[in-house]
């Protein structure tokens, strides 16, 4: 056993773990962070978009030296059928500001930088170390962790579980359930490299401007899912994700879906001639508010993806991870400053503070959306995109048909596909789940 005792052990060095370790170390706590990868970031996968506001709360001057790719000036939402996309694009010069709001990043590189900040704040970061078990005392209180290193038991007053969506420790110890196939999405992604001037020309960008494309429709073959394309400086992150339960049900392959998305006539020209340098996959928590497990216990708290904190509707996760990590650390610092023990009675402060933050407020707002999207995936991801495409083409193609008849044709295509009742019901359910 390592004789040295720590104030806190953080398991994992993703967004949540780094935020927690940094905050506790800055608050004067003696922190040990354990990471199984060869460096912090080497096991972490995300699209990825960084939300400046949540990072500013941790590192106000991050723009000076963080490895940022492009600041986002444009968002494109595409509804696709096999041969078309109907787009809603928003681009604004307002996003070209002194302190931009969102950036694309490359996680392995960004996390390495973030980890350096954690070390500079005084935390000890130990990589290439997989935590295998929680150590408990005779009362069942978590008093530390066991690792796969020799003599690998280490003790601390509090264990912060930032172990990611696959959080094995927590499920093995019975602190929370393993995510169900209908509560997580599997996303696969490729990194496509191209010269930066080609990327800028293809996406209509100047200097460090960036763009995000998010696409739904027949690309997910009727499953609940979404494709994404993010412009980085010299590469494009391109991927697609669908619910694990849908993959299981349909027998679709993730790489088959990815390749079909890449071959779509709206997508292929964007990546033509690129060199693919990496293929990755990751699970994304999709259960929303109703999937949040117990967040604290005797000697432990859980943060980030391990706590299923992900906003599916806005595709936000890393900011919820960072914020939950910071808030958990602030609660722990407050408990410690009062010389109180790290027991549920006092750790409840973490949940109270999290409930008051945007993290839980946003997830609560959309608490009914996952059920809606997951149970009628055919309608939202297959039928409607096809109908919209047909309507748009009917509207635009000039062929001598009187406009009044064109409108009737479009209306009829909607009512025959979903019936008036079905259309009304879908709209009503969507509005109710959204409000």
């Amino acid at each position: 056993m390592i004789e040295e005792k720590f104030d806190a052990i953080v398991v994992g060095a993703g967004m949540a773990g780094n935020a927690a370790a940094l905050t506790m170390a800055e608050g004067g706590m003696k922190v040990l962070q354990l990471e199984r990868g060869e460096y912090s970031g080497s096991k972490n996968v995300q699209g990825a978009i960084l939300y400046a506001d949540m990072l500013e709360k941790l590192l106000p001057d991050f723009r000076e030296d963080a490895p940022l790719e492009r600041h986002l000036v444009e968002q494109r939402f595409w509804m696709m059928d096999d041969r078309s996309h109907t787009g809603l694009h928003y681009r604004s010069e307002d996003f070209n500001e002194d302190k931009p709001n969102r950036y694309t990043i490359i996680r392995a590189q960004f996390d390495k930088w973030f980890s350096q900040k954690v070390r500079e704040a005084g935390a000890t970061v130990l990589c290439e170390t997989t935590v295998t078990d929680l150590a408990r005392d005779s009362d069942g209180k978590v008093i530390g962790v066991r690792t796969d290193r020799r003599d690998g038991e280490i003790h601390a007053d509090i264990v912060v579980l930032a172990e990611g969506v696959n959080g094995m420790l927590g499920t093995r110890a019975g602190l929370r359930e393993r995510p169900k196939p209908e509560k997580v999405a599997l996303a696969v992604k490729e990194m496509h490299f191209l010269p930066r001037e080609i990327i800028e020309a293809r996406f209509n960008l100047k200097s460090d401007e960036g763009v995000v494309i998010e696409a739904v429709g027949t690309i997910s073959r009727g499953m609940t899912g979404m494709g994404f394309i993010y412009a980085n400086k010299e590469c494009i992150s391109l991927g697609i994700g669908c619910l694990v339960a849908d993959f299981q049900r349909t027998g679709e392959t993730p790489y088959g879906l990815l390749d079909r998305f890449k071959r779509h006539p709206s997508v292929a020209p964007l990546i033509e001639g690129s060199e693919v340098k990496e293929y990755s996959a990751h699970l994304i928590p999709e259960g929303g508010f109703k999937a949040i497990p117990q967040l604290y216990g005797n000697g432990w708290v859980v943060i980030g993806d391990a706590a299923q904190l992900n906003n599916t509707i806005h595709r936000e996760g890393s900011n919820l991870a960072m914020t939950s990590g910071r808030i958990a650390a602030e609660a722990i610092l407050r408990i410690k400053s009062r010389n109180q023990p790290m027991i549920p009675q006092y750790l409840a402060l973490y949940k109270k503070m999290l409930d008051e933050s945007f993290v839980i407020k946003d997830l609560r707002k959309y608490k009914d959306m996952p059920a809606l999207m997951h149970t009628r995936s055919q309608n939202f991801f297959l039928t409607y995109p096809q109908l919209v495409s047909k309507a748009m083409q009917n509207f635009l193609r000039v062929d001598g048909t009187p406009k009044i008849e064109k409108e009737k044709l479009t209306l009829r295509s909607f009512t025959s596909a979903r019936s008036r009742r079905g259309l009304f019901g879908d709209a009503f359910r969507l509005a109710r789940a959204w409000r």
């Binding site: 199984r36 990868g37 060869e38 970031g41 080497s42 096991k43 972490n44 996968v45 995300q46 990825a48 490359i106 996680r107 392995a108 590189q109 996390d111 990589c127 290439e128 170390t129 997989t130 295998t132 690792t147 796969d148 290193r149 969506v165 696959n166 094995m168 393993r178 995510p179 169900k180 196939p181 997580v184 599997l186 696969v188 490729e190 990194m191 590469c235 694990v244 993959f247 299981q248 027998g251 679709e252 392959t253 993730p254 790489y255 088959g256 390749d259 693919v276 340098k277 990496e278 293929y279 990755s280 996959a281 990751h282 699970l283």
Partner: protein, 98 residues
């Protein structure tokens, strides 16, 4: 599945960096006579195509190309079809970009 598609997955994995923990696979399939529906679904759901059907009709896993997503854990761990853990510290996939 077409051979062409299968080849494409291997091409994708070829670009990744790995440190393989030889002789210590982090995922083990429980010996079985007839695979469960969960185990069979992994033949297609695994994004790295780590699961294959043997000539005798059993599902086997070769985890050298595993990208550690956890899909098989979510589908197959509860039924006891597989034993799933993380690779030892430092081993497994080493993402350059992530």
């Amino acid at each position: 599945m077409s051979i062409e598609l299968a080849m494409r997955v291997e091409d994708k994995l070829f670009n990744n960096r790995y440190l393989v923990d030889t002789g210590r696979p982090h995922i083990k399939v429980r010996p079985h006579a007839k695979p469960s529906p969960q185990l069979l679904s992994m033949l297609k759901a695994c994004p790295a195509r780590c699961y294959e059907l043997s000539e005798q009709g059993q599902v086997e896993a070769t985890v050298d190309g595993c990208i550690e997503c956890g899909t098989c854990r979510v589908i197959c761990e509860e039924s006891g079809d597989i034993e799933w853990s993380y690779p030892r510290g430092g081993y497994g996939v080493l993402f350059k970009f992530g």
